[in-house]
Amino acid sequence: MPRLTVWYLRAAFVHLALGATFGALMLSAKAAPSLAWAWAWFPSHIELMAYGWMMQFALGVAFWALPRYLKPPKRGDVRPAWVAWGLINGGVLLLAYGPMLGMEWTRTAGAVAESLAVLLFALHAWPRVKPLGV
């Protein structure tokens, strides 16, 4: 497993654990009104689970599993995929926690970071979506 996939997957695991914690608190709040404050974390729960966990896990596995080139570097230019990792996690953090801290600008910044991240990852992955042995 390439080092970058390790970073993608481990970050995805961290987001899964945090997103599941917020989810468990919110579901508990439906039975225990004293936990109603947990509903403020609803946008964070969605962000962490959909993008931090699922999307990031899928991209990390894609980086590992997509066909490689015959000549080195086997996975092509990996720099865009590294930058994408930073932008995804920066974007998820901004979107998940920024509004909770009263920083509304983080919504725009986070969304831009995530959009750039998937664009960069797609640029890296696009030529690797090819027949084997080419």
């Binding site: 497993m1 899964l16 468990a24 608190l25 579901l27 508990s28 439906k30 039975a31």
Partner: protein, 151 residues
């Protein structure tokens, strides 16, 4: 495909069918007013189907533990993964029953079930992370060299 993985994947399909069935019901005027149908169907899709499928396939495909000699230790703790399978699905099933129940007529039993559902699913997620963390690693050859370098 090992037996445990087959259970994960087949159970994921069961929840997928149920999720889409609930979604179809919710599209009818009478169905949309059923209590908790939207959050339940979304969670069947994202937890029961997607997350459970990822857990199962990841447990199968991630690199095996370096140095593990016993077959049942190659993929981490096999018993733990059986336990995770059980609590994830029991937790989800409890939600399907208890969430509408709490909306229609809140009662202590439904409340307990809902809280149990929440924390069983949480435990499943954390257990999966704990079991898989060490398997997400560079190839063994490079891994051994890194360990040697550190020493």
């Amino acid at each position: 495909m090992p037996r445990l993985i087959r259970w994960y994947v087949k159970m994921a399909f069961v929840w997928l069918v149920l999720a889409l069935f609930l979604k179809a019901i919710s599209l009818f005027p009478d169905g949309a007013s059923l209590p908790a149908i939207t959050p339940v169907s979304w969670h069947l899709l994202f937890v029961g189907w997607l997350t459970q499928l990822i857990f199962g396939i990841a447990h199968w495909m991630l690199p095996t533990k370096p140095g593990a000699t016993r077959k049942d230790k190659l993929r981490g703790n096999e018993r733990l993964m059986w336990g995770i399978f059980l609590i994830l699905n029991v937790g989800l099933a409890l939600r399907v029953v208890a969430e509408p129940m709490q909306i229609v007529q809140p009662n202590p039993v439904g409340a307990r079930w809902l809280i149990a559902s929440a924390w069983l699913q949480w435990l499943a997620a954390v257990g999966f992370v704990a079991n898989s963390w060490g398997r997400v690693r560079p190839p063994v050859r490079r891994y051994k060299r890194q360990v040697a370098d550190v020493r």
